[in-house]
Subunit: 575 residues, 2 copies
């Protein structure tokens, strides 16, 4: 076999030129973690800053052990520590996000050679089954700066039943685990708080690390953003930028791009700020302004017409994945349909689709019926789908982007009927394509920001574990000034919410605030973006050179930064 | 407004940090084009290498003026030239491809300050309308190393009627154009040959530049690849690599990814070699081995089962866009349906879909009818769609990826019926998602390879124009040894093909050859890739650092290179 063939075979299993390159790429590290040419753990102490939520009284009753110790106070660093003999397990929970591997590397580096780090296979499920393997230095080196959660896998199991709690206690006892570090989103960090309280009597501690590409786990200056958001949005923004460049090259298409993000529109807003397309839907605005679906469609059609009249026959619309659920009248329609279908399950099962549709319509009131009838027929059909085990429609299956296209198309046809005969718009041929960007963005090679952020988060989490703290989430703040390592008491984030008929603890999802600097800036520019091509191509993520160190635009705006450059310490070889 | 807000506004219209960075990025330039700190045109002369095709006799009769001059001989460089006063127009033809802007920059640099370069607005349509604008040095600087064709736009107009030929003659005469440089694919370069012959009596010359992301415009060592292929495949490969990383992280999905590329599977093969997924369909193999659709589906289902039995519940299948058209039995079915529908247009118009389906089936023979009935019902419906103006079905509208998913799903259900009850496969839940990557890859920021390749192609094209040559395509060969500038006589590539009942000149599309080193290497590895996770994440395109200078893997294999690194001369600031 030739030399090249040999090289190509050697690249298999994560050894592309790129993967080999990033493994040894120096990463910015906060100065307190750097000791000569190696990394070290640091100590933490309470600050005077106390976190509180509206449900603090009830939460205090439910988490007595945690709160007695933490007083809900933020922790700040306090010198270095030198702990030995601890056995710590780390697990990924929920959907993957870029940088997770570097969290593991950071923990491993904090633990050093005198403590043991275990990987938990396939997430919470693996914890319940006690499936661990020891992480060696060589393994840490092999995953450094790579994307994905594939080093140990993840899953979405929620640990909430008494039986599961017992299982966890047995597993940590059997394996002599001192700390569980849970890398996850709002639900997983809530779970971390619950487990911390539960395991306190056993002397076992629990630490959380804030992960989610959705960006809905954030808390002002304390937690500027969750990890994975930067990489995901930069991947989506590159793709959207490429397509925008294509619209102005081909001169004949409108592209409708749905962007992943279950509820909040942070990902869509960031992508919009990075690329400046003609139109961007922000779900939170629809909700707050109580807009109807028809109003949104009208507004998009208005922009299409405005551009066509100027001879611009192309454009791009960004649609957040959760859009449909945020339209007040759609919420009413969906609730009404859920109820009708719930109360008539036996009848409905036997019906063919036409009969089913008529039956449902005959039970809707005039307003919801009108809305239902406005929808394209394939969407009408989809809304008749079986509900899931919670009685909900699987909304992610609704192709929102084609729904919007079909409705805009119909609206444009109507507008053309009354358009001035010699306007460009009158003879305009609306040509639309659809995309969904989601899975592409969860496991890409981390941006230098996520790589550095996660490595430092791992160093914080590992240090907290060694220091014997429990019920805290690792955090890095002050992203432009060298970074500050902190720890947030999870109980200080909890509220109580009624879900499926019972009280549940929740960390509230951070939605896009209409009075936030990022949204206000977007509003100040969107008219210009719709009327002319103002788009930008943010390009592929660079790991070296002058554009490697960038924070998300929404973070920079909301945190009042002067520019987009981050500073998380000196570039350091991770050895 | 704050400093950051100001900066963000200033980024609009192609001034992202990335775009500002790439504009001044040094690019490798062949040594003969470098003169101190600036660039220069070179002369060309005939080599002894003559190109010939099977239809050379007929072509010689049709292109007497061109062939008399060129003798179908390859041109090689010959010193430097110093020409003044020429007026040259450049146009983009067909779908965009990354690097096009650098072709323009290269031409501009070859022309220097004593000749004039005009941009043609919106492709061949703009040429017919005489819509030109002069390209200044500042414009060239503003588009250097950026993606897309949006600097002047493109379209798909074919210049082939007598009326259009007259229009072109009038336009070049009126605007005193000395040369038209056509940047396009196989059709556009064929058109360039025709125009070269046509305009020869006017003393107007025509030069082609080989563009197409499809990679089907290539000719051994003479033309290793068309530009745009490298960037498109590296974009698709990054996305596919990200998703592969996701499959191994989430541990529950199969992803079916359709990849753009009208006919040939070069793009899919390259993406596969970059990422090593579990399964890759190569259309040319299906055709050559006369495989049925059922055989392909069976083979994918076999791999799904094999992995499920080992506890691997995830994987990824790559599907070339043109796949359906390459299945021999589907060709037969489609031709039969076209004929039935063509002969019964009046009857069919009035039929509803059920009647139409029954009518068609009653007219198919047993074999084609059986194949039709095997197809998922939504695909059956789609095949009943109206034919286009050429009587063809709009095949790109068929969602091949969901067709494959549905058929694999059905096949797996069948296999599970007879699977051993205690095998992992028996209880396996096949969970599939679909993607189509196309438009994302046509206009991305060029890789350093496409940036350099195109700049040098532009320097060749500009030099040929100044040198008074006509009917040549610019080429750069020897990509690993500093690069060699050449010119290929277009008439030496032409064949005659019967299309829609009449003879047409064509440059034959290069398909994937089953005896090529690239395909043979793929075949030697695919069993391993299907049985275990061997995937690789090639990562985002880097423009600096140790992994910036890479050629496509298929090119390196087929050209027998020792490694993946290119050498196209010294990095040079383009000023």
């Amino acid at each position: 076999m030739s030399q090249l063939n040999n090289n190509l075979v050697n690249m298999e299993k994560h050894h592309s030129s790129f993967e080999n390159f990033v493994r040894t790429l120096p990463v910015p590290i906060l100065k307190e973690f750097v000791k000569g040419s190696s990394l070290q753990a640091v100590g933490f102490k309470k600050s005077n800053q106390v976190l509180t939520t509206k449900d603090v009284a009830a939460i205090t009753k439910e988490f007595p052990l945690s709160i007695e110790k933490s007083e809900n106070k933020i922790l700040v660093t306090d010198g270095v520590i030198n702990i030995k003999g601890k056995r710590i397990a780390v697990l990924f929970s929920g959907g993957p996000a870029s940088g997770g591997h570097n969290v593991v590397v950071g923990i491993k580096k904090a633990l050093g050679e005198h403590n043991t780090l275990f990987a938990t296979k396939a997430g919470p499920k693996g914890l319940l089954a006690g499936e661990f393997f020891e992480i060696t230095d060589a393994m840490a080196a092999s995953i450094c700066n790579t994307g994905g959660f594939d080093f140990m896998g993840s899953d979405r199991t929620k640990i909430k039943s008494e039986e599961q709690f017992t299982q966890v206690k047995e597993v940590v006892t059997k394996h002599k685990i001192d700390t569980i570090i849970i890398v996850g989103g709002d639900d997983s960090n809530t779970n971390a708080a619950v487990l911390a309280e539960l395991l306190a009597p056993l002397g076992v501690t629990v630490i959380g690390v804030p992960k989610t590409i959705d960006g809905d786990l954030q808390l002002g200056d304390l937690l500027p953003i969750s990890f994975g958001f930067d990489t995901a949005t930069k991947i989506y923004a590159e793709m959207v930028g490429n397509i925008l460049q294509d619209t102005a090259s081909s001169l004949k298409y409108w592209h409708f791009v749905k962007i992943m993000g279950r509820a909040a529109s942070h990902v869509t807003l960031e992508t919009s700020l990075q690329t400046r397309p003609a139109y961007t839907i922000i779900s939170e605005e629809i909700l707050e302004k109580k807009m109807s679906l028809a109003q949104v469609i009208d507004d998009i059609a208005r922009v299409v017409k405005l551009r066509a009249d100027k001879g611009i026959n192309h454009g791009l619309v960004l649609i957040p994945e959760g859009f449909i659920e945020f339209i007040p009248e759609m919420q009413v329609l969906l609730t009404a349909m859920d109820e009708i279908m719930g109360h008539n399950l036996d009848k409905i099962v036997a019906m063919d689709i036409t009969t089913k549709k008529e039956f449902i319509m005959s039970n809707l009131n005039a307003q919801t019926k009108a809305l239902y009838q406005e929808l394209p027929s394939n969407i009408q059909d989809m809304l008749l789908l079986e509900r899931d085990s919670h009685g909900n429609l699987p909304l992610s299956q609704i192709p929102t982007e084609t729904l919007v296209i079909e409705m805009v198309k119909a609206r444009i046809a109507k507008l053309q009927e009354t358009a001035s005969k010699d306007s460009l718009f009158a003879s305009y041929n609306f040509n639309a394509l659809n995309h969904f960007f989601g899975y592409e963005g969860r496991c890409g090679a981390p941006t230098l920001f996520d790589a550095a952020y996660c490595l430092n988060l791992g160093l914080v989490a590992g240090s907290l574990a060694l220091g014997g703290f429990t019920g805290y989430m690792a955090a890095i703040t002050d992203l432009q000034n060298g970074g500050v390592a902190q720890a947030i008491p999870l109980t200080g984030l909890l509220n109580i919410e009624r879900r499926h008929g019972q009280d549940e603890f929740v960390i509230e999802k951070a939605l896009v605030k209409l009075n936030s600097p990022a949204f206000e800036f977007f509003v100040s520019r969107r008219k210009q973006w719709s009327e002319n091509d103002c788009f930008t191509s943010p390009g592929p993520r660079q790991l070296m050179g002058p554009v490697a160190k960038m924070v998300p635009i929404t973070v920079a705006l909301n945190r009042n930064y002067e520019n987009l450059t981050f500073d998380l310490g000196a570039d350091t070889e991770v050895k």
